[in-house]
């Protein structure tokens, strides 16, 4: 990681900060979604059971969306072409985006988490800091996936289509609604290759069973490896499409 990574990260953050409407949406949307989730699940026990999975899914969703659209704009506006002709490496660009947008993904995560805990009054076990660290890992995966899949979209419309293609199927087979071992064999097999499966499994273990990060080493390991592989793929597939 070179100093250019941080130059790019700083610019990405500055872009978001200077777009006030986006900032307002980043702050308000998680609250709206968490409120809807909270009011639609009236039974307290069910809400407590569902909230870790909902959190993991929303982190992945928001992170994927904000990164995918941001990166796509970089391509379509021609700034990516300009960057690729400069001394910055493809890895600088991808990791710069990761650092820059991760901050906003984390802000959304924290808002949702604390809103669910203090306003919707969900209860959780385990250490708060460990839950937040694991959420960061899910956020990193979301940003990496958004960066990678933006390479396959030529406009915002196409990018939006990746949400039902990449995110929604994970919601159904990740163990959010039905434990993965109760899924049909094919879907259970597929679920083993999806990051949300490990995100949901890990966050449930932390929040519902009070386990620690050391207890969910497999989930952490898979998510970390997933992030590294997708990040490398994102750098390799980086092309200008202006």
């Amino acid at each position: 990681m070179s100093s250019n990574t941080f130059v790019i990260a700083r610019r990405v953050m500055l872009q978001v900060v200077r777009d006030r409407r986006t900032i307002v949406l980043i702050l308000v949307v998680p609250v709206v979604i968490a409120t809807i989730a909270g009011f639609s699940i009236t039974d307290k026990t069910s809400l407590n059971m569902a909230s870790p999975g909902i959190l993991a899914t929303l982190i992945l969703f928001f992170g994927f969306l904000i990164t995918g659209i941001s990166f796509l704009r970089e391509r379509t506006l021609g700034t990516l072409e300009r960057l690729l002709a400069s001394p910055v490496s493809k890895m600088d660009i991808v990791t710069g985006y990761l650092l820059g947008l991760l901050l906003f993904a984390l802000i959304q995560t924290l808002i949702m988490f604390f809103y669910m805990v203090y306003v919707l009054d969900i209860s959780y076990q385990g250490h708060l800091w460990q839950i937040l660290v694991f959420q960061v890992l899910i956020g990193i995966n979301a940003v990496c996936l958004g960066t990678f899949f933006s390479a396959f979209a030529r406009n915002e419309f196409q990018m939006i289509q990746f949400i039902p293609l990449i995110i929604i199927p994970q919601v159904f087979v990740s163990g959010l609604f039905i434990p993965t071992n109760q899924l049909p064999v094919v879907l259970e097999w597929i679920s083993k290759f999806l990051p949300l499966t490990y995100g949901v499994e890990g966050i449930k273990a932390l929040m519902l069973q009070g386990q620690g990060l050391l207890d969910i080493g497999k989930d952490i390991g898979v998510l970390a490896a997933y992030a590294v592989v997708v990040l490398l793929l994102a750098a390799l597939t980086l092309r200008q499409k202006s």
Binding site: R18, L77, R82, A85
Partner: protein, 249 residues
């Protein structure tokens, strides 16, 4: 002895099955303004992308400042793409500062000074804190130029830099380009207008991915054999010749 800034040898490039650069050869001397003139689809932008290293040749070679155009060599290059290619949420100064940073201007004091100087060069001092989204097309072009020159590169690629500019601004740009070449910078400028081409010290006429002719504007005009021939006459003359002529210079 004059140094060569760009050496293109038997360069070829394909988009799929379509050959868009076909056996191009040219030498561009340091400290000159070199125009790539041709209609849409002639291969101007593709040639510039090959020269800056954005594309890999399908055949032949290209070198910029004696080296293959790689990332390691990119610090010495300035590139202004056809689109303004700016960050619309950021201000004029923030955009220029960002490109200054990634081109190696790490020292804060030096960079600020360079950014301020560059903003004055493109005559946008009053707009330095304005977001790009609130600028006119001509102003965006000026910021785009500023982003390409903030690190004062010896070699500058300008892809259709004057498209969409009003006549006054176009004159201002060309005065600045002339100053840059006098200061020893090499400028590669693509254009499809003969007005722009007349300002360049040397020209290559491009058509369908081939170099049709190369030389100074005067040499190209004289080659037609007509008195008071214009560059337009010269271009048409070489097109009608129907063969590649690289021997004018």
């Amino acid at each position: 002895m004059t140094k060569t800034a760009i050496a293109v040898n038997n360069l070829a490039f394909n988009y799929g099955n379509l050959r868009v650069i076909d056996d191009m050869t040219m030498q561009i001397e340091s400290g000159t303004s070199y125009g790539l003139l041709g209609p849409n689809g002639a291969g101007k932008t593709t040639l510039i992308r090959l020269m800056v290293g954005l594309l890999k040749p399908a055949g032949g070679s290209v070198s910029s400042l004696g080296k293959a155009p790689t990332r390691a060599n990119a610090k010495n290059i300035g590139y202004m793409p056809q689109l303004p290619a700016l960050y619309s949420e950021l201000s004029v100064a923030q955009n220029i500062d960002f490109f200054g940073r990634i081109y190696g201007l790490k020292n804060l004091k030096e960079r600020r000074q360079r950014v301020d100087e560059t903003i004055k060069v493109v005559d946008l001092w009053e707009k330095r804190n304005t977001q790009i989204i609130n600028l006119s097309g001509g102003m965006k072009q000026r910021v785009s130029l500023a982003c390409a020159i903030v690190h004062q590169p010896p070699l500058l690629f300008l892809d259709e830099p004057t498209v969409g500019l009003d006549p006054e601004l176009r004159v201002h740009f060309w005065e600045y380009f002339t100053d840059l070449t006098k200061a020893g910078h090499t400028l590669i400028i693509s254009s499809h207008t003969f007005d722009d081409a007349a300002h360049c010290q040397k020209l290559a006429f491009l058509r369908l991915g081939k170099v049709v002719a190369q030389g100074t504007p005067l040499e190209l005009c004289n080659a037609t054999g007509k008195k008071n021939a214009t560059l337009e006459d010269a271009f048409l003359y070489f097109i009608r010749q129907g063969e590649v002529k690289n021997n004018v210079q």
